[in-house]
């Protein structure tokens, strides 16, 4: 037999080599599969999306801005835009690029896939919110519009994506969203977040890290030139106005919609009773439906009944049944302490 020491070393090398190759997500195989996609088509579609964004935001679009958007040099960007032009998707006039009708519907198809996929990830998977956008950036180039349509039908034709952007309809119409940027609200105003811009990624990650999400109630406490102080679901936050521009809110006019108590369910002690006021919008998809199925809806009485040995989960009495919930979820259910 061979020397055990040599076998050990060989075995170790083989195992690590196989791990490096096959490891999910980070292995060479996964990296190779990611890079093997059609990068030419992707560049074209990304550039087209950029031209569409310019049009949507009434900005002018040039080859330079495409180069910036695609993180590439001017030559490549010129090549891409020439190709788009020859395909009849864009026209150029005086250095500026415009969409043709055909180009607009192509761009809307990509956006429809992108936003539908984000909605799918948010409601039907447990992919983290900071990864929704980057995953959708990959899927938008591979999924056909027919697949997207059947996915949309399965999800009940959702209207908006988890960031609050409207999803283009099957007829490729894009409804107007309305709302104002957070830095346009005045002191004392109350509004609800309807959109969090997911680009640039760094800003979005910061907003997510602050615990902000769609549907949150915002109350402006103070507004100065260099910062905005506001309460989001009862917690105080400070943002620079430039960052606040990434948040779109809708003012709440109807007083009955305003929630003034954000006591989390997890703060109730055994024996205390709460009345459910609402479930945070951060709880989505299956978990949210499950809670509502169990009777966690505004107006229900809820009482912590039994704490597990480690303190988490806690069993609550809801409508005559005893249901255990984990802290990460009971943190996101708002109650009003009663009795």
């Amino acid at each position: 037999m061979s020397d055990p020491l040599i076998s050990l070393i060989l075995g170790f090398i083989i195992v690590s080599a196989l791990m490096a190759f096959f490891f999910p997500d980070k292995g060479l195989l996964a990296i190779w599969r990611r890079s093997a996609k059609d990068s030419k088509k992707e560049a074209l579609e990304d550039a087209l999306k950029h031209v569409y964004d310019c049009e949507y935001n009434s900005l002018s679009c040039t080859i330079r801005s495409i180069a910036g958007h695609l993180h590439t040099n001017m030559d490549k960007a010129a090549e891409v835009s020439a190709r788009l032009e020859s395909m009849g998707l864009i026209t150029s006039n005086n250095q500026k690029l415009y969409l043709t009708d055909e180009g607009r519907s192509y761009a809307l198809r990509i956006i429809r896939v992108h936003r539908l996929w984000e909605h799918y990830l948010a409601d039907h998977s447990s992919v983290k919110e900071t990864e929704w956008h980057s995953e959708a950036e990959i899927v938008e180039h591979t999924m056909t519009i027919e697949e997207a349509d059947s996915l949309a039908a399965k999800m009940g034709n959702p209207l908006i994506d988890p960031h609050g952007d409207p999803i283009p309809t099957a007829g490729l119409e894009l409804p107007e969203l309305g709302g104002v940027h957070l830095n346009e609200l005045e002191k004392g105003d109350i509004g609800r977040i309807i959109h969090l811009e997911d680009e640039p990624q760094a800003v979005f990650s910061q907003l997510i890290a602050m615990g902000l999400h769609n549907g949150m109630q915002i109350h402006i406490i103070d507004k100065r030139t260099d910062r905005i102080i506001f309460e989001a679901n009862g917690e105080e936050n400070i943002l620079a106005p430039t960052l606040a521009a990434n948040i779109t809110v809708k003012k709440i006019e109807d007083q009955s919609e305003i929630l003034d108590d954000f006591t989390p369910l997890s703060s109730l002690q055994v024996g205390e009773t709460g009345i459910v006021k609402g479930i945070s919008r951060a709880l989505r998809g299956q978990q949210r439906r499950r809670l509502m199925d169990l009777g966690v809806v505004p107006g229900s009485k809820i009482t912590p009944e039994l704490v597990s040995r480690a303190g988490n989960p806690v069993a609550y009495r809801i409508r005559g049944a005893s249901v255990a919930l984990r802290k990460q979820h009971s943190d996101l259910i708002f109650v009003e302490k009663g009795e």
Binding site: S126, V297, E305, A324
Partner: protein, 476 residues
């Protein structure tokens, strides 16, 4: 006319789309809210609640006890240990009876009957192969399952098991799993196929898949006897008599605990890698305690679990028995297929601290872990050229006396390392075909069935290889 209709439809759809935007995304929830409040109002008016306080007090008292810091875990271990003890002790006698009826008595009778009118190979193929394998599986599988499942179901029915899940959830949450995995894992100690079916109680897709894939790390009923036998021959025998029993029992418990730890580690790994994106939701209902319905429980657990699993095992055992018999009896160049394979795979087996016989046994005895040791014994006497020690070429057997079996193992060239690695490999190898088929039925996915099959096998090969090489490095 047609065009008119399409126009109307389109108009209608456009209006609907428009209205959807006006009512917003949350109208489903508003609807649900109003249904709940209407229902509550009607119920308040129409339903009279009797004074149920007294019964409810009892529930609270039991709950306080089973979730208490001091008594919670000891009580749980005590109850589970009791269930296993009842199973092992209770299964001994009926298992022996079934074995003497089906194997010792009926097998020769059937063989003689077949020999009276058919050639020897037909009798060997059908009776020594197919029948014996089936009889073996029934004798060793049926009694423990017929005891374990009803007792377990009684605990479930009483309402205790959801409290175990409640107490264990914190640990399993950290491993990315569901508290109820504690239950499916315990069920896996009885039978992995049943454990996989039991994951139906986990209503979150991701956590359910995790529980299915890791169930195989629970040392099942078919593997306990292998562990105990090998531990007492290769670990116990090397020690003075007064501590031998304790140490070999300790070794078996170590393997079982290793299985539990690995299932937590693998759960964590799965939830962070390939299962990262699967949908997940948590809630755990704690039903009120109630006296278990004993007869109903007996009936359903016997039909739904015992007979169901046993039937699948039999379906797989019959062809495997045929394959086992053929492998030892079909000759190429005067040597059986089994011997060809064994001499070819022996170097690899030795590299893993096992041998060719063990590798072949794990391949052909895939339907049930229960028949691995009988197959190993048969193949060992076959390759050692002493088939007269066993029950005939291609006929599985087991011996009454442990020392006689130890003798056969030594004849096959086994060392203490072979014993230890067999114990490790018995924990870490692919699930039996019954379990694999059950995983496929439960997940409906080839992908997850393959992963559940290959993952523990690769882990076993890697662990055995490194154990063997380290052993050789330090033993020399």
């Amino acid at each position: 006319m047609d065009k008119n209709n399409t126009d109307k439809t389109e108009k209608l759809l456009a209006t609907a789309q428009n209205l959807r935007w006006q009512v917003g995304e949350n109208f489903h929830e508003s609807l649900m809210e109003s249904i709940y409040s209407d229902a509550a109002r009607i119920a308040d008016r129409a339903v009279k609640v009797d004074d149920v306080k007294k019964k409810y007090d009892w529930d609270v008292k039991i709950d306080k006890l089973v979730t208490s810091r001091t008594f919670g875990f000891p009580l749980m271990f005590l109850l589970l240990a009791a269930v296993f003890w009842i199973t092992v002790e209770g299964a001994n006698v009926p298992s022996g009876l079934l074995a003497s009826l089906l194997v010792d008595f009926l097998h020769p009778v059937l063989k003689d009957f077949m020999l009276s009118f058919s050639p020897e190979w037909v009798a060997g193929f059908l009776i020594d192969g197919a029948y014996l394998s089936m009889a073996w599986v029934i004798a060793v599988m049926l009694p423990p399952m017929a005891i374990f499942f009803p007792v377990f179901t009684l605990l479930e029915d009483f309402g205790y098991l959801p409290r175990v899940a409640f107490n264990m959830d914190n640990l399993f949450r950290r491993a990315g799993a569901h508290g109820k995995q504690a239950l499916t894992m315990s069920m896996g100690f009885g039978c992995n196929a049943a454990g996989v079916v039991a994951t139906r109680v986990i209503d979150s897709p991701r956590e359910r898949l995790i529980a299915i894939i890791t169930n195989n790390f629970s040392l099942c009923n078919g593997r306990w006897p292998t562990q105990i036998l090998i531990a007492s021959i290769f670990i116990g025998a090397a020690l003075p008599a007064h501590i031998a029993g304790l140490v070999s029992a300790g070794a078996v418990v170590f393997i079982a605990v290793l299985g539990i730890l690995l299932s937590l580690v693998v759960s964590y790994g799965l939830s962070k890698t390939i299962l990262k994106g699967e949908a997940s939701a948590f809630s755990l209902e704690l039903p009120p305690y109630r006296p278990p319905k004993i007869w109903q429980t007996l009936y359903t657990s016997l039909i739904d679990r015992t007979i169901f699993v046993l039937w699948r095992a039999i379906v797989f055992a019959i062809p495997a028995g045929m394959a086992i018999w053929l492998s030892a009896n079909v000759m190429i160049d005067g040597t059986s297929i089994a011997e060809h394979f064994i001499s070819w795979s022996n170097p690899m087996g030795l590299l893993l601290g096992l041998n060719g016989v063990i590798l072949l046994a794990y391949i052909i005895a895939i339907p049930a872990n229960e028949i691995v040791i009988p197959t190993v014994l048969m193949l060992t006497v076959l390759t050692a050229g002493n088939p007269e020690l066993g029950a005939g070429t291609g006929v599985m057997f087991e011996l009454e006396s442990q020392s006689a079996m130890a003798e056969i193992f030594r004849m096959g060239g086994w060392t203490a390392l072979t014993g230890i690695n067999l114990m490790l490999f018995s924990l870490l190898h692919n699930p039996c075909s019954t379990t694999i088929y059950t995983i496929y039925k439960e997940t409906g996915s080839v992908k997850w069935s393959v992963i559940a099959t290959v993952l523990p096998l690769i882990m076993g090969l890697v662990v055995c290889f490194f154990t063997a090489q380290l052993w050789m490095l330090f033993a020399n």
